[in-house]
Amino acid sequence: MTRNRVRGRLPVVLVLPAVLGLAFLLVPLAGLLVKTPWTSLSTLLSAEVGEALRLSLICASLATVLCLFLGIPLAWLLARSGLPGRGFLRALVTVPLVLPPVVGGVALLLVLGRRGLIGEHLDAWFGISLPFTTAGVVVAEAFVAMPFLVISVEGALRAADPRYEEAAATLGASKWLTFRRVTLPSVLPGVVAGAVLCWARALGEFGATITFAGNFPGETTTMPLAVYLALETDPDAAIVLSIVLLLVSVGVLAGLRDRWISGPT
């Protein structure tokens, strides 16, 4: 039973769809690269592109921080607390995954908008209005991306051996200390993987952002919005924007992968 022999028997029924699947995912990206107007690249890279890219990176990173801050405790609650109705709660947490992002954006407007359930008071008491601001972009991205983090961290927590935590408890550590010094380090790969997914999702976010935060260059026009609008008048510019976003995100993800996420090779 050598490795080679096992490899030699790759079943066609698996390999064929696998190859098709790979092509399905990669060919459109290759098409983008082929169609890129490389020669006029520098002229199409305007200051606005830089601005949109900067905004995208900042907002996606802030949204990820927000998700980590709120999502890890939420994942812990779902995995460890023994709360009744956790299954139902977990299903609710994943709703933004299946919800069309535009609907998510409308929901955010209805709650956090200037006339929204909570937004009304934010506006009246503190003068805070989230729609059409960069903060609004972060909120919209976090809303859509947080389930990725929660699910990833919760899975890691459920797979982690609770005996280490029990041992820490028997040694007199408080629950908070146990969480910080034992639980969190043991699920760190899950947290990082979740954060990367969350960041990637936030970076590509379109529907909720344009619905909730609107579109204004320098304030709320992230790369996906810029791509969408450029596509209507100048498809070449849209392709360049997409390539820039693609290169940056692949670069960041590849960098993180080498450093943090060592997948089985």
Partner: protein, 270 residues
């Protein structure tokens, strides 16, 4: 020897099953196509599906016209894709399978005639002009176009790429006002949503959109709008899958019946 053989034949069988399933799926894809143009001596029949790409500002009127058309021509089914005219033009140029295009501006119609996606001469069927839209009760106290320069007020406009945005730009240039918008939306209906939710104090939309939004939105007319009138052209596509019905639909929109529906919604006659 028998075991590998068995396995092999099994895997072939499954592969065949997968392949035939794919074929069936592919068949479904083309099966949904509308009836082919009539051939031979038969008179061309108005029947089957017709797909209409129409500007967002036509959402209400064309939905109504589509129902009327179906009632007048049994066996037809009108499907719509409403959106910003520029986005629709782009989709058509990329080969979207449509029969009819109704744009909110000649510029976006030109985008498709330039590529020979449409070879018929587009015909103007209505005109529309801009109006200021404010939420019910006008909480932002918008009095006129000059308030759009006030950075303290929340203002939504269409992005310049879409016809209502291009018309807005023209209006502001004529009025010598530099607007201070908070958001540039991808189509006129998105702007209208922001107004009806009360998220902005004021916006520029079409006169007809104010009417369509009902009592959630109030309209303020302004003089400069008369100088930035949008012509709405309509035409059937060169490669319309259902050319006969497509032409019939265009005629229906241009007919007296169509005009009645459109002018009831506030559109002006060309």
């Amino acid at each position: 020897m028998t075991v590998p053989n068995l396995r092999k034949s099994k895997s072939i069988r499954v592969t065949l099953a997968v392949a035939s399933a794919a074929l069936v799926l592919a068949g479904c894809g083309s099966g949904g196509q509308a009836a082919a143009p009539a051939s031979g001596s038969e008179a061309p029949k108005v029947t089957g599906d017709v797909t209409v790409f129409a500007a967002a500002s036509l959402t209400e009127t064309f939905t109504r016209l589509g129902k009327d058309f179906e009632a007048a021509n049994p066996g037809t089914k009108v499907k719509f894709n409403f959106g910003g005219s520029s986005a629709l033009a782009q989709q058509l140029n990329q080969g979207a399978p449509a029969d009819v295009f109704a744009s909110a501006a000649p510029a976006n119609m030109k985008q498709v005639t330039d590529t020979k996606t449409i070879t018929d001469a587009p015909r103007t069927f209505v005109k529309n002009k801009l109006a200021i839209a404010v939420p019910k009760g006008n909480p932002g106290k918008i009095a006129g176009l000059a308030d759009f320069a006030d950075a303290g007020k929340k203002i939504a406009l269409c992005a310049e790429q879409v016809p209502c945005g291009a018309a807005s730009k023209k209006v502001f240039e004529l009025a010598k006002i530099t607007p201070a918008p908070d958001t540039l939306e991808q189509d006129v209906k998105a702007v209208l949503t922001k107004v009806s939710l009360g998220e902005v104090d004021g916006a520029l939309v079409y006169k007809t959109d104010v009417k369509a939004a009902g009592d959630k939105v109030e309209g303020i007319e302004f003089t400069e709008s008369a100088q930035a009138v949008n012509d709405y052209p309509i035409a059937s596509l060169a490669k319309a899958p259902n050319a006969v019905t497509a032409k019939a639909f265009v005629e229906f929109v241009l007919s007296d019946k169509g005009r009645t529906v459109l002018s009831a919604a506030g559109f002006d006659s060309p």
